[in-house]
């Protein structure tokens, strides 16, 4: 059962920061509420004050063509991201992920900023944003700062946000031209238990992997890039058996890098196995997309 709370509806982020600073641990920022309200209903979290940040125009979605960068306001809903034409054109991996996030009702209400700020380890969004090299814009009483997604997510349910800070938005660089990307997950009903993504950027002549990005989520407290997997892929030609062998080694590296927990959604061994298999499939799909002209 939810308990009564004071509702604050500030008009600006600065006002929200002031409230957070004043009330300390008894206050929490509230956006879509799809995760926060669940935890509060179950009595896992309790706050005397919720700060609704949906009245301050933080829901903008804008693509800066010249800079090749997408801005997602913190209160942009998953539905808005899923249905944005410019995101579909320039960030197909992001849209493909959003289409399979939870269900249509959750996507109509849940927000990008809420997902990241709650820092649930089973977040598809966090893993995908890590692959794009996204950054988070954070506002507090002493001003604004920018952190990477990796810096933002410190531990399960723990972010780098200070007491007075809130997430204002996310900036997502477009992938280089010709890149191929893929994110896939294994899920029981709507809950991802393993999420793996890969990005392959072709070299200048297009024949080999110029840059590889591999990330794994849901199998540890926070999603993470796997540099050991990325290193074995760099320089590998897309055609010929070399790619398959490198992909296998990359999948092994992901298998080693996972730190999953046994839970109702599978044993740790099973999840590690799935992470390896899904890494191979994601790399295959990303390679196909590079050879097909790029799909970022």
């Amino acid at each position: 059962m939810l308990q009564p709370f004071h509702l604050h509806e500030p008009a600006t982020p600065a006002e929200a920061s002031g409230i957070l600073e004043r009330l300390g641990d008894d206050a929490r920022v509230y956006a879509g509420g799809t995760e926060l309200l669940l935890a509060m209903k179950q009595g896992l979290l309790r706050y005397g004050h919720l700060i609704n940040i949906k009245r301050m125009g933080l829901d903008a979605i804008a693509f800066d063509e010249a800079a090749g960068r997408l801005h997602l306001g913190a209160t942009a809903t998953h539905r808005a991201v899923e249905r944005s034409e410019v995101i579909a054109r320039r960030y197909p991996m992001l849209v493909a992920m959003e289409r399979h996030l939870a269900n249509v009702r959750v996507r109509a209400v849940g927000t990008v900023g809420g997902n990241l700020s709650f820092a649930e380890p089973h977040s598809d969004l966090a893993t995908v944003l890590l692959l794009y090299g996204a950054t988070a814009s954070v506002g507090g009483a002493s001003g604004r700062r920018t952190v990477t997604i990796g810096e933002l997510l410190v531990d399960a349910y723990t972010t780098a946000l200070a007491q007075d800070e809130l997430l204002l938005g996310i900036d997502v660089p477009a992938l280089p031209r010709g890149a191929g990307a893929d994110y896939r997950k294994f899920a029981f009903f709507e809950r991802p238990s393993v999420g793996v993504g890969a990005v392959l950027v072709p070299s200048a002549d297009g024949a080999a992997v110029g840059e590889a990005r591999v990330a794994v989520g849901c199998v540890g407290p926070v999603p993470r890039r796997v540099p050991e997997a990325e290193a074995v892929l760099a320089g590998t030609p897309f055609r010929g058996g070399g790619f398959e062998r490198a992909a296998e080694r990359a999948a092994e590296a992901v298998h080693r890098a996972c730190d999953p927990a046994d839970d109702l959604y599978g044993s740790a061994d099973y999840k590690r196995h799935l992470a390896r298999v899904f890494t191979g499939r994601a790399l295959d799909a990303a390679r196909e997309r590079v050879l097909g002209g790029g799909w970022g």
Partner: protein, 170 residues
């Protein structure tokens, strides 16, 4: 000084099934409790209570939400549709009629949610593919009828709505 009770209450005004409703709701009141307990609109059901079963699906400004995990004060200044609002003067809405015709219900507990998610689907995709139907309905769980007849009902409802629109144009 603010009264403690008032500090936890929000005055709202919303349009629910075409009727203007004014109320003072506790901040922590869910939309599902507000509809069922305060307004006696009991079509939306409580089942999982964690947004995965769809039995409490209602539309807010046309978008489907899980009323079990949606705060009532959020409907201030907005429109809410529940299954009660669909029939007109005793005539079932085409989606409701399609569910009856296809025999797409057994115990009926999930049906209001199924019907409201179908309304949301047809607003976004008037001629949905089977894949699009599945993408919207996979978050609504039925534990007795099975999904084949529900799928048939949604396809028939889409067809009926399409025929109606084409009829209106010509």
């Amino acid at each position: 000084m603010i009264e403690p009770a008032a500090a936890h209450t929000v005055s709202i005004e919303a349009e629910i099934n075409g009727r203007r409703v004014r109320a003072a709701v506790p901040t922590h009141r869910t939309l599902l409790d507000f509809l069922r307990e305060d307004l006696a609109l009991t079509a939306a059901k409580r089942a999982c209570d964690v947004q995965v079963c769809g039995a409490c699906t209602v539309l807010v400004d046309g978008l489907p939400v899980s009323a079990c995990t949606f705060l009532a004060f959020e409907i201030n200044g907005r429109t809410v549709e529940t299954c009660e609002g669909l029939a007109r003067e005793g005539v079932l809405h085409p989606i409701q009629q399609a569910f009856v015709d296809a025999g797409a219900l057994q115990c009926g507990y999930c049906t209001p949610g199924m019907i409201m998610i179908t309304k949301a689907l047809l607003a976004d995709h008037p001629r949905p593919s089977v894949e699009e139907i599945k993408a919207y309905l996979h978050g609504n769980i039925c534990r007795c009828t099975g999904y084949k007849k529900i799928l048939d009902a949604v396809l028939a409802a889409a067809e009926a709505a399409g025929d109606q629109k084409e009829g209106a144009v010509s």
